[in-house]
């Protein structure tokens, strides 16, 4: 269900939902939920099934119940666009949560911070805890390990018989980890593996470290 890694003597648990739990701080990191996206589309005449709205809140509740964190940090793009009726659903949801909530603001977060503050949610551009930096866009800074979202990373796996599968993933390089998008109806962006990176794919009900195989460009068949 989860997979743990240790970074700078701290333990992080990756959850199949795409969220990341910082054990020592009891802090849950969630990125790119894009709440309100379905309603936004519907408002503009694209009839995306409304039932998908509920799924986001159910998934949020279930992951909070699992880790029972003291604080929750959203790594940006919590809301997809301007205010719509999903804000009311979000307000309801926040009431059920006892943990302290912070939003590290992303490019989609255009809703006024005042609205968030009314719900006791802090909105900040970035968050530094010890030698860890939490941002929406991936960043590189000396001596610092960065957690970010924004990319909606996915990885392509290949096997014998020309088989391939694309899965959302946690994408870790030496000083960086990009967290997958949490939200329903958000899409992914496939990344190539790189030298020294570690990739953890989301399987629906598990998190799996992905083996990386070096290959040379294939030759064609000969007659």
């Amino acid at each position: 269900m989860t997979h743990s890694i240790t970074l700078r003597n701290q333990i992080f648990e990756m959850h199949f939902s795409g969220s990341l739990f910082w054990v020592e701080k009891s802090m849950l990191l969630i990125s790119d939920v894009h709440l309100g996206k379905v309603s936004h589309f519907r408002k503009y005449g694209a009839a995306v099934p409304q039932q998908a709205v509920q799924q986001n809140f159910e998934a949020l509740t279930s992951v909070v119940n699992h880790f029972k964190p003291e604080s929750i940090v959203f790594l940006g793009d919590l809301f997809h666009s301007s205010l719509n009726t999903e804000w009311a659903l979000f307000t309801e949801w926040v009431k059920t949560i006892s943990a302290e909530i912070t939003l590290v603001s992303g490019n989609h977060d255009i809703i006024s911070p005042i609205k968030y503050e009314a719900l006791a949610i802090k909105v900040i551009p970035e968050l530094i805890i010890d030698s860890f930096l939490l941002t929406h866009h991936p960043e590189e800074r000396d001596g610092i390990f960065n957690f970010s979202g924004h990319i909606h990373p996915a990885i392509k796996l290949s096997g014998l018989g020309r088989q391939s599968v694309r899965l959302p993933c946690f994408y870790k390089t030496e000083h960086q980890m990009i967290v997958p998008a949490f939200g329903e109806f958000t899409g992914t962006h496939t990344l190539e593996p790189c030298d020294g990176c570690e990739i953890y794919a989301l399987l629906g009900d598990a998190v799996l470290p992905v083996p990386i195989k070096e290959v040379k460009k294939k030759r064609n068949y000969r007659k």
Partner: protein, 822 residues
Amino acid sequence: MNREKLYDIAEYWFQEQGWKPFKFQKDTWKAFLQGKNGLLNAPTGSGKTYALWFPIVLNYIKNNPDYKTKHKKGLKAIWITPLRALSQEIKQSAERITLDLDTQMTVGIRSGDTTTKERAQQKKQMPDLLITTPESLQLLLATKGYDKIFKDCSAIVVDEWHEILGTKRGVQMELALSRLKNISSQLRIWGISATIGNLEQARDVLLGMETQVLENSVLIKANINKKITVKSIIPKKMETFPWRGHLGLHLLEEVVPIINNSKTTLLFTNTRSQCEIWFQKILEKHPEYAGEMAMHHGSINKETRVWVENAIRNEQLKAVVCTSSLDLGVDFAPVETVIQIGGPKGVARFLQRAGRSGHRPGKESVIYFLPTHAIELIEASALQKAVKLNTVEDRMPYLNSYDVLLQYLTTLAISDGFYPKEIYQEIKQTFCYQALTEEKWQWLLNFLVMGSQSLQSYDEYKKVEIEEDGKFKVNNRGVAMRHRFQIGTIVGDVNIAVKYQKGGYIGSIEEFFISKLNRGDVFTFAGRNLEFIRIKEMTVQVKNSNKKTNKISSWMGSRLTLSAQMSELLRNELYSSSEPNKNQSAEIRALAPLFERQRRDSIVPKPSEFLIETFKTRDGYHHLFYPFEGRFVHEAMGSLLGYRISLLSPITFSLAFNDYGFELLSDQPIDIQQVLDNDLFTKDFMLDDLQKSLNATEMARRRFRDVAIISGMVFTGYPKKGIKMKHLQSSSQLLFDVFRDYEPDNLLFQQAFTETFEHQLEEGRLRLSLERIATQEIVWKQCSKPTPFSFPLITDRMSREKLSSEKLADRIKKMAALLMKK
């Protein structure tokens, strides 16, 4: 003025040009003036435009005897053309008549190229004769008070109806006609079509299912017998000719003498990227053609295309490499020879292309077929027979396209609004929606108004509103504006304009190709080497580059398949390889070394045999099946068989198809004996299994793309204003998943499956071929390495289908992310 006098006017005009009207032209004049509807079957360049422009003008003269001095304003006739590039030419022929006969009639064009100023003028005062496209006609229905525009319209002519018929633009046309019939009381409906297998049906679809309209109609055939000579370009050395490939560059030098011996040669390629490559390579090897050779395809900017077309007419060009963009219209007298590169996948298309040469009456058409790989020579041989027998394909019209209907209803709602009762009666008369139940109709209305089937809390869905008197109307300006932009996007991928950084439009390109490029990459497009700089607001900025590149712009395009008749001809050609030499065509004889090689490890099947080959390579275990039934039947049979095998034990397949057979590739071997023992080729439960296999593969997912765009669920963005709409862009893939998970009974989601079923899998033909296989002896060859027949299939990397009955977790265990080492 009586009819005889009117004919005299027309005949006199013909005499003045030194021409004589053909019988089909006179027949059409007569039928039109009698008030009949009809379909005229005539090829391009036969004088079909005069067959219909004349009676339209004569009818005006009849109704306005003082036509020379007084001008009765208002729209009299609409001419629909599928390609806006043709409208100029159609306008010229109309103007010739209106001017020469001293009428004061005006002729105008309305298409995507028409300026806003011109549009506004037309809105104030429509020209008498309007030339437009199916999309622009829909846009007219989206203007307020459109009924007044069409009130006195006497005729609508749909040109090149065969090209529109089997597409969703055809459905768009059916819907527009169903409306026009009811608002223009004098309307005659006419279509012009090249020869297709189902001409009668083509007429029914055009005119609709109303018996009155159909009974008052005619089908006129031009019967112009043209001599067509087909010549295959046979490689001199079969041993070095490739077994696979789709470019055909091996035979480039064979093309040179053909070009040199004819005034102008058109080289038809099947894709735009192939067109780009051939153009490059010929110039590279034969720089002497520089300035005398050009390229023409749909993504090159309009000015260049028009220049090329004029240069052909003025005999300035020796050769033009082109795609289907030059299939239609435009009379190119200087073209003496046509070369088809690669299988045209259709006799009708092949004949049409052949007809581009020797355009003058009495001249013969010459077409060369250039095979791109060895097995295509069998196709070449079959094509020759098909041309002799004139076995042209059917164009299958769509049924129950909910997406197009939703688009149409929104169109009506943004202009004057509509009353469902009235419109339901109208659309029930169309071919496409003749079987639409009231229940489904209600579903669609609910969807328009609520975006679902019942009101939901916290919902802000906004599109069509119901006014107090029951009228369905769009009152939101944003909805209306977005919809207008959407009307034109009935087909095609997201296109991005390619421009120089300093400005200057070069053409348009599909997003999927650009998404693979990085800054600094050089690619070939429109015959130039361009360096990719960046994407900005839906345009690709580039600059010229001198660097060499192997990246050639490519387009997905649609895949075509062999018809049933053509497949049969193909099989017969193949079988003839076992017969004595004298019974064989030159192509089959030339293939002798390939057949010999095929027989070394396997067989060339006889009519009584069905061949299965299996072997292993480093890619996995290959299982090949050769029904020779055309690509679509193979897609169906491959999915069906793959699905049935996957029920025996958990397995994952990668499937490849072509016109000759299909491949099931897996990481584990299939026991073919078990397949035979379990009778997996049976036609029992075929429909049921096929439906289930559809869920297991991704075919419907791909179909869903068009459905989502046409019905307005995926917004493709405003041309050149793309950036503002970014928050409304989503991929249809994402949408497909959401529907699958939350609303699988949605009619639009279902439509993707029905369409795959009806338009891609050809269930009827699948049944017949399974029956045929049941009578054949199955020959299973376990080969040590790939055979010539298998080659094009196993090397197909692009268009593969997946099917799996394994758990994802189990599959993943055998996989890895690949890190490319340079």
